[in-house]
Amino acid sequence: MAKKSVSELDQYFGARTPRLGVLIGGSLSKGLDIRLDPGVNLEDLAVGRYVVIHGHHRRFFCIITDIGLNSTTVQITGTPPDMSNPFLADIYSGSIAYGTMHIAPMLAISEDGKLEPVRTIPPHFQETWTATEQDINDVFGKEDETHFNIGAPLELLDTQINVDLKRLTERSVGVFGKSGTGKSYLTRILLAGVIARRAAVNLIFDMHNDYGWEVFNEFGTRDKGLKQLFPDRVVIFTLDDESSRRRGVRPDFVVTMAYNEIEPEDLEALRLTMDLSDTMLDAARLLRRMWGRDWIQSLLTAEADIIEDLINTTTINGPALSALIRRLQRFQRFGFLVPQSAGDSVQAIISHLDQGRSVVLEFGRYGNALEAYILVANYLTRRIRERYVHRVEESFGDESKQPPQLMITIEEAHKFLDPMIARQTIFGTIARELRKFKVTLLVVDQRPSAIDEEVMSQIGTRVTALLDNERDIMAVFMGVSGAPGLREVLARLDTRQQAIVLGHAVPMPVVIQSRSYDEAFYAAMGKPISGKKVRSVSQKGGQALYGDKEFEGFD
């Protein structure tokens, strides 16, 4: 095919931003090296920003992963020129001494606008430009019924990054970031999108009461919870009715769990948190077989002679049994554990999910007890997933029985998905099953390196705020092409409102300045999608529609 002339390229690519430089080397696997033009101010560049190389027949969409200094001769580094002389500075900068940037090619856009994975690289000395709004829009499309705006790329705040919600929810999602980087905030935006567009129903194990009802943000003002945004699409369940009411929440259901509903399998997930050994778990299984469903209460109320008899007549080890009793006694401080359950929490949750409502389970004061969080999440999820499996299998014969796509949100995910227990817990199973049974996870965590590798490899979309631990960074980028460069980007994110999104739901890794969770966002959640930019619509939005009145949701 003949090379295109510059004017033809201009016609095809549209108006261009000032040129940054030319491609001088690199490879597909290690990234490309760009020599910057004289006059390009290095301080105006930043890792994480987009650039575009205009090849002969396609645009290569790349992300800046490193910025450097170089010179054509080593002599200049030994005897630096007099840069206080502006004339000499103008000449040396960009000629003998020049800037470089290393970029990772992420995506190619063919002449007919088709997005393609990058399987080749442009030839030497092709021109490199800052990505334009048009480039961003070509890649990330417009917001519509299945695409949700989660923010804008750095420095192109008038554009928007839209995640594909169908792809987001059909595989598990990870939201990672060190403490205080806004994981809950990012999660709330994603969940709001999923609920607003009915991409899935959600079961949210809300450890710190961040999602259901309003919370105070870092500026001391209140952010609305999902229930306030979507009153008819979200129900609040609570383990701690008193705490919920104290915060002004009127929960739809108070969850209780009966001791006799806890199975030894529910304790498997607590192996690490409660320091349960194999011997203790074996003892629990044996007691369950011997004493039936009331095994926990029987054990906790057993007299000394019964214990002694157990030790003498079964294979149960004495010290292990004593340790198991001490561990189980910790359950007695959990008010939601009762002798007889007041209602079927699992059925209540499933009933709401079937009606297209998402369930936020608030933990109230029990959010600080990791054992309670893991016990309840594991207990409910195991049973809900069992019913989902059953119903999905039924739906093979009758499609009308197909349950809605379910996304389960868990925090402190590494406690559930540690390599030592991930294979035994229901969450490990769900993560590995992908979309087979229409249940996926949204894991929120600050230590991705502590999550089982196999589980991490199955997380389809990763939204990652700042991480500075090298092992965590490596874990997030495991299996991602161009990862070495992206590591540099991740380690240099701002501590707030910035994240890298990569994986199944976006065409290419993208650094975003996330949307603000404010009145404009609330208003945008209720607006029909016109394909126009929500940013501009929403800015005029709320007030014009609702005046100065307190916003009260849409449904």
Binding site: P38, T72, T73, Q75, I76, T79, P81, N85, F87, L88, D90, I91, Y92, G94, S95, I96
Partner: protein, 202 residues
């Protein structure tokens, strides 16, 4: 009064493809200067216009001068007369940097043929000067020629060329030229530094 570039500044004395010498009168010495761009005009369209940089002017002695030098007192009138009626011309040496075939563009390369003896030589007019300096491909010829004081020559030429440009373009021109020189001399920082200091706009 005619413009400086309308009348010949001299005529070709000797020539090769790398350059030529021009013979002129003392009275014509004032117009060309070290670093000026000149052109040798062919007498037929079959040959090329040869462009070059004036890199040397020298005044050789003759028998009359030898005698006068030894005289005790030489009057101003005698000296002026000697200047005007020298029997040996003032010589200017030109480094060829480009050529133009009939009606074609100026190419920055050594000419295919040298100019011939007695071809008239002119200063380039401002338009030609700008045309030549629009690209800096001839820098390599200047900097690679050992027989000429290349940094001094290039500096003089650049300053003269900047002078024909509008004032607001002069600085950018010198920076662009400096960058090209930096590209070519990146392994000889001493020469580069010397050149850049010579063209620093005052």
């Amino acid at each position: 009064m005619t413009a400086a570039w309308e009348d010949p500044i001299g005529y070709v004395l000797r020539a090769s493809t790398t350059g030529f010498s021009v013979g002129t009168r003392v009275s014509q010495m004032g117009k060309p200067a070290f670093g000026s761009i000149v052109k040798a005009q062919p007498r037929t369209d079959e040959r090329e216009w040869v462009y070059g940089l004036l890199f040397d002017m020298h005044i050789d002695d003759d028998p009359m001068v030898r005698q006068l030098v030894l005289a005790d007192a030489v009057s101003e009138e005698t000296i002026r007369d000697q200047h005007h009626h020298r029997i040996v011309p003032v010589e200017m040496d030109i480094l060829a940097i480009g050529f133009r075939s009939y009606d074609g563009p100026i190419r920055h390369a050594l000419p295919p043929h040298p100019p011939l003896s007695l071809d008239p030589v002119f200063l380039c007019n401002p338009e030609e000067t700008k045309e030549i300096a629009a690209h800096f491909d001839y820098f390599r010829i200047v900097l690679a020629t050992a027989q000429v004081p290349s940094e001094q020559l290039l500096a003089a030429h650049l300053i003269a060329t900047a002078g024909v440009l509008p004032e607001d373009e002069q600085y950018d021109f010198l920076v662009r030229a400096g960058r090209e020189a930096a590209r070519l001399l990146n392994n000889d920082m001493a020469r580069l530094d010397s050149l850049l200091r010579l063209i620093y706009p005052v």
